[in-house]
C-alpha cells in the first residue's frame, strides 16, 4: 500500500515510477483485452461479410441489387431499365471495330452516321448497319460487328459514385434524388453501418433455440459435473486413504490435461456406429447407429459428459484443498459428538465449502458460457442445431460457415451479446465476493 508521504516531491516521483512500471501492463490490457471487445462492438454495428469485404466497396448492378431495388424501394421500372441490354455506337465500340479489322471506310462511315446512336435491340442496330454504304459482307461479319456495340451495366463494378452515375446516364436513364439514393443503397457492395444485426437476432427463431441450448449447456454441465460431481469426488477422496485418493484424483485430471482433439476423438470412437458402444450393444439386439448424433437427447448427454469430465477436475482440486484445510480436530469433534459420515458431510464439510462452491459456480459459469470447442469437435452443434450454443453460433456465423458467406457483422453481434452477459455476470459475482468481506465481522476482543 502506498502511504501518503510528507515529502511531496518524493511522492510524485514514486507515483511516476509506479505509472511507468504499470505502463506495459496497461498497453497489454488495452491491446489484448479492450481492443477485441471494442472491435466486436464496432463489427456488430455493420453488415460486414465475405461478400462486402472488410475494406471499402464498389457499385455494381447485380441481380439481387435489382430485385431489392424493385421490392424494397418500389423502383421496378428503374430496375428493369438498368437491367436492359442496349446497343450503343460509342467511341469504345468503334475502336474495337478497328481492332477487329473492319475496313477504314466502314469505320469512318460508322463514326460519321451512327456515332452516339443507341438502339433497344440488336436487330435495330443491325438494320441501321445494313443501311450503310460500306456495310460488312455476310451475316457472320455483321453479327460480329454488332456484338461489339452491346452495352449493359449489369455486373460491371464502378469504383466511385461519379463513374457509376456517369454510366447510368450513358444508358439514357434520368434519375431523380430518391432514385439516386435508392440506387446507391442497393448497388453498393461494401459494408455499411446498420443495427439490423440486432433486429434480425431478435426476430429469428434460431436465436431462441440457441439461447435455450446455451442455458441447458451451462447449467447441466455446471450443476451435474463442475460443482456436483466435483464435490462428490473431493468428499469421496477425502475419506479414502491418501495414496488411492491421490491416484483417483490424478485419473480425474487426465481429461483436463489431454489434448482436446484427441480426447473428443476418443468419445467419438466410443459413439460411432462401429465404435465401442455399438460393439457392446449390437449383440444385445440394439441397432447400430451413431450414438452421439442419433438424437438430440443423446447428443446432450454426450456434450455434458465430455465437458463435465474436463470441468470437474478444477472443482475437485479446489474443494479437496478446502476440505484439507478444515482442522482435523473438527472431524474428531463431530465424530465424538455422534455424527456419522453423512452428517459430517452435511454439517461440517459442506458449510465450510460454501465460498469455494460459490466461487467455482461463478467462475465455471463464465467459462462455460464462452466455451464451445468441445461441442464444435464433437457434434458441431448437431444434430440439426440441437446442441448449437451461443458461442458456437457466433463462431459458425462469423468464421466457419457452411454456405461460405462469413457474416462478420452478425457474428460479432452474437459475440457482443456474450460479452455483455459475461460482463454483467462478472460484475454481479465480484459484488458477491466483495460482499463476503463485508459480512464477516471482525472478532470482538474482550
Amino acid at each position: 500500500m502506498l502511504r501518503a508521504s510528507p515529502d511531496g516531491e518524493a511522492m510524485s516521483g514514486s507515483r511516476i515510477l509506479g505509472l511507468l512500471l504499470l505502463a506495459p501492463a496497461f498497453v497489454f490490457v488495452v491491446l489484448f483485452f479492450l481492443a477485441p471487445v471494442v472491435l466486436t462492438a464496432v463489427f456488430a454495428l455493420t453488415n460486414m461479410s465475405t461478400a462486402t469485404g472488410i475494406t471499402g466497396g464498389a457499385y455494381q448492378v447485380t441481380q439481387s441489387a435489382m430485385r431489392e431495388l424493385g421490392e424494397r424501394h418500389g423502383e421496378q421500372a428503374l430496375a428493369d431499365a438498368l437491367a436492359r441490354v442496349r446497343y450503343t455506337v460509342d467511341p469504345a465500340g468503334i475502336d474495337a471495330a478497328t481492332a477487329e479489322g473492319a475496313s477504314t471506310a466502314l469505320v469512318s462511315e460508322l463514326d460519321r452516321k451512327l456515332a452516339g446512336e443507341s438502339f433497344d435491340s440488336r436487330r435495330e442496330l443491325e438494320r441501321a448497319i445494313k443501311a450503310l454504304d460500306n456495310r460488312p459482307r455476310g451475316t457472320r461479319a455483321l453479327k460480329s460487328l454488332s456484338a461489339l456495340f452491346e452495352r449493359s451495366i449489369v455486373n460491371t463494378r464502378f469504383a466511385t459514385e461519379e463513374e457509376f452515375f456517369g454510366a447510368v446516364a450513358g444508358l439514357g436513364i434520368e434519375l431523380n434524388a430518391t432514385q439516386r439514393a435508392a440506387l446507391l443503397a442497393t448497388t453498393y457492395t461494401g459494408w455499411t453501418w446498420t443495427s439490423e444485426n440486432f433486429s434480425r437476432m431478435f426476430s429469428l427463431p434460431d436465436t431462441k433455440r440457441t439461447f435455450l441450448n446455451t442455458i441447458i449447456y451451462v447449467f447441466a454441465t455446471l450443476i451435474v459435473f463442475n460443482t456436483g460431481f466435483a464435490l462428490v469426488l473431493s468428499i469421496v477422496t477425502h475419506y479414502m486413504p491418501d495414496r488411492p485418493a491421490g491416484i483417483f484424483r490424478a485419473i480425474w485430471l487426465l481429461p483436463r490435461i489431454s489434448p482436446p482433439v484427441l480426447y473428443v476423438l476418443l468419445w467419438k470412437w466410443l459413439a460411432w456406429d462401429t465404435g465401442f458402444l455399438s460393439r457392446i450393444l449390437v449383440p444385445l439386439g440394439f441397432e447400430s447407429r451413431n450414438w452421439m448424433l442419433d438424437n438430440p437427447t443423446n447428443a446432450w448427454v454426450f456434450i455434458v459428459l465430455i465437458n463435465g469430465f474436463v470441468g470437474a477436475s478444477m472443482g475437485m482440486l479446489i474443494f479437496s484443498a478446502a476440505i484439507k484445510s478444515i482442522p482435523v480436530s473438527l472431524f474428531y469433534a463431530s465424530e465424538v459428538d455422534g455424527a456419522n459420515r453423512w452428517q459430517q458431510v452435511r454439517y461440517v464439510i459442506l458449510p465450510q465449502l460454501r465460498w469455494p462452491i460459490l466461487f467455482i459456480t461463478c467462475y465455471q459459469s463464465l467459462s462455460l458460457l464462452t466455451s464451445f470447442e468441445y461441442i464444435l469437435l464433437a457434434t458441431e452443434g448437431g444434430p440439426g442445431g440441437a446442441t448449437k450454443v451461443w458461442a458456437l453460433a457466433a463462431y459458425l456465423t462469423a468464421l466457419n460457415n457452411y454456405a461460405g458467406n462469413l457474416e462478420y457483422g452478425y457474428g460479432a453481434a452474437l459475440a457482443l451479446v456474450l460479452v455483455v452477459v459475461g460482463v454483467i455476470l462478472s460484475l454481479a459475482y465480484l459484488r458477491l465476493f466483495d460482499f463476503k468481506s463485508l459480512v464477516a465481522p471482525p472478532p470482538i476482543e474482550q
Binding site: 480436530s329 465424538v336 456419522n340
Partner: protein, 350 residues
Amino acid sequence: MRILLEKFTKSFGSLTVIDEMDLEIDDGEMVALLGPSGCGKSTTLFAICGIHRVSGGRILFGDRDVSSVPSQQRNVGVVFQSYALYPHLTVAQNIGFPLMIRKESNADIARKVDEIAELVHIGNLLERRPAQLSGGQQQRVALARALVRKPDVLLLDEPLANLDAKLRLEMRSEIRRIQRETGITAVLVTHDQVEAMSMCDRIAIMNEGRIVQIAEPMEMYDNPASDFVAGFLGNPPIAFVDGVVTNGRFATASGAMTVSLPFNAGERERKIRLGIRPEFFRPGGTQPVAGKITFVEAQGRETLYDVALEDGQILRSIQTATNAATVGEKVNWGIDVERILMFDEDGARL
C-alpha cells in the same frame, strides 16, 4: 462409569506408542494423565473416545467392552486442546450440536443448551460465533458442548493450555466444580503438574508410553516411585545430587557435599542419587552444605535461589522473601535430611 484399560496397546505403523498399558479409573473419579510431550497422553485419550482404534488390549466402560465400538456410540464428551468449535455455527448451535445430531426436538435442545450455558457462565454469548469469543470463552463453549448430552465419560485434552494465568486458575476450579456436580468420570490430559495436582483425585504419570506411577497427588509428591516422577512434580523442581553412599554417609565424588543419611542404605558402597526439594534446603536446615549462590529469582512472596556446590552440582532453595542473599554470596544452608528422597542408579526409589 468406570473406565478400564487392559493391556491397551497402540501403534502407528511399525511405531509402538503405547505398549500394554493398564489403567483403572473409578466411577466419578477425575484422573490426570501427566507426562512430557510425546509420551502418548493424547493417544491414550483418543483411544478412550474411539477416534483411534486400539492395536491391542481392551477398553471397558463399566463392564462393557467398547474396544471396537465407534466413537459415535461411546457417549464420550471431549474437550479438545484446540477446542474444535464449529466456526460456522453460533455458540448455541455448537453446544446443541450433539443433541441436533441425535435429532432431539428444538425445544429440548434450547432448554438443555440454556441450562448448560448457565453452568459454565456463557449464557450471554449464545448468539456469537466462535471467532467472536476470547480463548477462555471458547474453552467454556467446548466444555458445555462436551457436557450437554450427559456423557458417561469426560475427556479433557490440555484444555487450559491456551489460557492466561488468571483464567487458567479460574477454569481449574470451575472444571473441577462441574465435574464434581455432575459426578462424571473424567480424564484430564496435561503436562502441567500444578494443574494435575490441583484438579484431580489421582495422577497417572506417563513416560514413553507407559504409566510410571499412579497415586493421589500428595502421596505422589511425598513418595515418588522414581526420580522421573519426583522431577515431574513440584514447582520449582526438585534438585538431584549424584554421589556414593557408604555406611549411611553420602558424599559426592569430589567431596563437595557430605551428609549422613537417616535411613539405612546398606553397608556396601554404592552409587545413589539424592533428591532434595527446594523447601527442604534453607538456612537452619539440619545438615549444613557449603555453596555459592548463582541465581536469584524473586517470585514475590517467595524467593528462589540456585546454589552451586564446589563441583558444579546445583541445589535449589525456596524461602520466604526476607533473606537478602545475593548472587555470588557464599552460603552455608542446611538440608532437612529426613525429607531427602533417595534413588538408585536406575532412578528407582530406595
